[in-house]
């Protein structure tokens, strides 16, 4: 049944890629308890950055990764200090962040339309490799493998950050319990700001690969990217960035299997999985209980 194998391998690859798309969102939520509903727009910024490098400067879009990191610092730091402290002083920062980032999403959408127009933009097909690579007899385009490699690299880097660096320890402490972390003298604001920037950078990096796996980018796909990312990270575990890979795998395999058998329902897969998993295991597949009574 080579169709099933194709869907399985493809689902794994696609899922690992989507973990990359979602991981930044998970980090930001875990550290700051903020719902960055503009996440999809930041992913798009990464994609458009790669487009600019490729179409205007003739560079390989992979350099978009560097641009995404630089952009995240330039945009993320001021954005953090402008909005987050005020938000956290308010009555319900979690839900207010939803509204705030909605406003930011609108603004980014407007800027993208103004600068790039509403047209679809793609990246050169062969820039990340023009052939196909196989696993277990099923072959997929080089671009997929590069995206997967980047995703695994990023996850590994994040793992090392969390387990080997002081900032990483501090970040984990804040994710586990913000107040306790504050009490033990961790500079929560600084670490949070850094995490915010990392989260945006991860989104931008994922954006470089989105045109390869989704065909093209245009300003209007931002919201769909956000809702899918939410589904992926909750399936894996909200607040546990490393768990995003699991969420991605479940999402990828589920979606591609559905495409093989009942394609018109394939969009429903992430949401159905989310509801089922969250009702069976309320903190996601990997999480510890994060909820109150």
């Amino acid at each position: 049944m080579s169709l099933l194998e194709y869907a399985l391998i493809g689902g794994i690859l696609y899922g690992i890629f989507f973990a990359l798309v979602g991981i930044g969102l998970n980090l930001i939520f875990g550290v700051m308890r903020m719902i960055n509903i503009a996440h999809g727009q930041f992913v798009l910024l990464g994609g458009y950055g790669a487009f600019l490098l490729s179409a205007r400067l003739g560079l390989n879009p992979i350099f978009g990764v560097l641009l995404a990191i630089a952009g995240a610092i330039v945009v993320g730091l001021p954005l953090y200090y402008a909005v987050v402290p005020r938000l956290q002083a308010s009555r319900d920062p979690e839900m207010l962040s939803f509204i705030l980032f909605f406003g930011i999403a609108q603004m980014i959408d407007a800027i993208l339309v103004a600068v790039f127009g509403a047209d679809q933009r793609s990246l050169p097909q062969d820039a990340l490799g023009s052939g196909n690579l196989s696993a277990l007899g099923q072959s997929f385009p080089d671009a997929w493998w590069v995206a997967v490699a980047m995703s695994l690299l990023v996850t590994a880097a994040l793992y090392l950050y969390f387990t080997r660096t002081r900032l990483g320890f501090a970040t984990r402490a804040i994710i586990a319990n913000r107040d306790e972390a504050l009490a033990t003298g961790i500079d929560v604001q600084r670490v949070s700001a850094l995490s915010f920037v990392i989260g945006l950078a991860l989104a931008g990096i994922a954006g470089v690969f989105v045109p390869y796996l989704l065909g093209s980018i245009s300003p209007d796909i931002g919201n769909e990217l956000t809702t899918t990312s939410f589904a992926v990270i909750i399936i894996g575990s909200l607040g546990n960035p490393l768990g995003t890979i699991i969420g991605g795998l479940v999402f990828g395999i589920g979606t591609l299997f559905m495409q093989t058998f009942l394609p018109s329902w394939s969009n429903m897969v992430p949401y159905a999985l989310l509801v089922i998993i969250v009702l069976l295991r309320p903190a996601g597949l990997l999480g510890r209980a994060v909820r109150v009574t």
């Binding site: 080579s2 169709l3 194709y6 869907a7 493809g10 696609y14 959408d109 407007a110 339309v113 509403a118 047209d119 679809q120 933009r121 793609s122 097909q125 196909n132 072959s139 997929f140 385009p141 671009a143 796996l213 989704l214 065909g215 093209s216 245009s218 300003p219 209007d220 796909i221 769909e224 591609l256 495409q259 093989t260 394609p263 018109s264 394939s266 969009n267």
Partner: protein, 418 residues
């Protein structure tokens, strides 16, 4: 300290009313004498899913208006003089909720004389009951949903695109004429694409062909790798993908990188937005695929009103520094039809406008082809042929392959491996 609550409520109410009044309580004098300007109301989407197509259509209409005004205006038979036109347009951002209020604004506040809908079935749908309620003729440029045209109406006319119930007929006939038996159909789950797929399936069925693959995917589908492999497993003679531009782009790219090969591949939007698609998938990915060529790729040298295809392409390119696409032509066609309608209607009423359109049906040809509407408002003319995109040097050209009377060459089937 408490402030009297009624005071706050009254203050709030006053603010509400003031705000609403500020939005625009515009009441022009009722036109018994000829108006100084013909107000044409329309919507466009500057952002969102329909932005690209909608703006193209809007541009075409604006172009028509500029030409007509340079000439002193459009001739209005009811007043026996030329009157300049003014386009009043609002941005609905591809949202139906916004579109509804904006259509209503055009009708009740701006009191437009002619109402033209936005691009596509989705943004046209909300205008239909509104127009009927206010007894206004709705000029529907590109809303082809067969659902709209199920009963007799004086308030709806599809002017620039064939109804979805007739559109795919030439394609089905081509497939039957080529004696292809194994047909795979992949379509988006929306009115535009699904109704085409249904029509195609039923016409093929009448010719004794049942699809070997017939599935809908969400309109936002962007990854076709698995779908293509599943389709390939059915060994099709022809693969037809009905979607919008982003779907076609993703489909063609995934097809190229998958290494699969089909004898015939069909998508819709290369025929409408060839430069956008080529920019995103590359000329090689399009080679030997099939599509519906649309004007100006299909030429109509003999027209009864307005410029013919060649003249339009030349004039539009000169004025706008870029070659026109189908949406531009459709927008221009909207203007032409409106102009012809005003030139024929004996009185300046919406019902007379509709009668004029009915009279034009069957005897009017424009750069989009023959104008033929029925009493339900459906467009039965302006049919699109089938073309194959054939490489010519490093670029591509269109070869119309069906029907015979419009064909400019023979189809290369099966498509050669690249």
């Amino acid at each position: 300290m408490t402030v009297s609550r009624p005071t706050w409520l009254v203050a709030a109410a006053v603010i509400i009313f003031a705000g609403l009044a500020a939005i625009g309580v515009y009441r022009p004098a009722h036109a018994a004498a000829p108006p100084s300007v013909i107000k044409i109301g329309t919507l466009y989407a500057s952002s969102g899913t329909f932005a690209v197509a909608s703006q193209g259509q809007y541009q075409g209409l604006q172009y028509w208006a500029s030409l007509v005004n340079k000439d002193g205006g459009v001739y209005v038979k009811a007043f026996n003089k030329k009157i300049p036109v003014k386009i009043i347009a609002y941005d609905d951002q591809s949202s139906t909720t916004t579109a509804t209020t904006l259509y209503n604004q055009l009708i009740t506040q701006d009191k437009v004389d002619v109402l033209i809908a936005d691009f596509g079935s989705v943004l046209t749908s909300v205008a239909i009951p509104l127009a009927a309620e206010h007894h206004m003729l709705l000029i529907d440029p590109t809303g082809s949903g067969a659902n709209f045209f199920t009963k007799k109406t004086d308030y709806l006319a599809d002017v620039s695109i064939p109804s979805s119930a007739v559109w795919p007929v030439p394609l089905a006939q081509f497939i039957l004429a080529q004696k292809l038996k194994r047909v795979a159909i992949l379509y988006d789950s929306n009115d535009f694409d699904a109704s085409q797929a249904e029509t195609l399936k039923s016409v093929l069925g009448q010719g004794g062909v049942t699809p070997v693959y017939y599935n809908g995917v969400p309109t936002t589908e962007s990854n076709y790798a698995v779908l293509l492999h599943t389709i390939a497993a059915t060994h099709p003679d022809a693969v037809l993908e009905f979607g919008y531009a982003p779907n076609d782009i993703a489909f063609l790219r995934d097809l190229t990188s998958s290494g699969l090969h089909f004898n015939m591949t069909f998508t819709i939007f290369p025929g409408q937005l060839i430069s956008l698609i080529t920019k995103n998938v590359g000329a090689k990915a399009l080679a030997y695929t099939y599509t519906y060529p649309t004007p100006p790729l299909v030429r109509y040298p003999h027209v009864t009103t307005g410029m013919n295809t060649a003249e339009f392409v030349q004039a539009f390119t000169a004025a706008n520094k870029v070659a026109p696409n189908f949406l531009n032509a459709a927008g221009y066609n909207n203007g032409l039809i409106v102009g012809e309608m005003l030139a024929r209607a004996p009185q300046f009423t919406q019902l007379d406008f509709h009668s004029a359109l009915m009279a034009m049906s069957g005897s009017t040809t424009t750069l989009l082809g023959a104008f033929k509407i029925n009493e339900n408002g459906a467009q039965l003319g302006e049919l699109l042929p089938v073309a194959q995109i054939v490489p010519e040097g490093t670029a591509n050209k269109f070869v119309v392959v069906y029907p015979q009377d419009k064909a400019t060459g023979k189809a290369v089937y099966p498509a050669p491996q690249q």
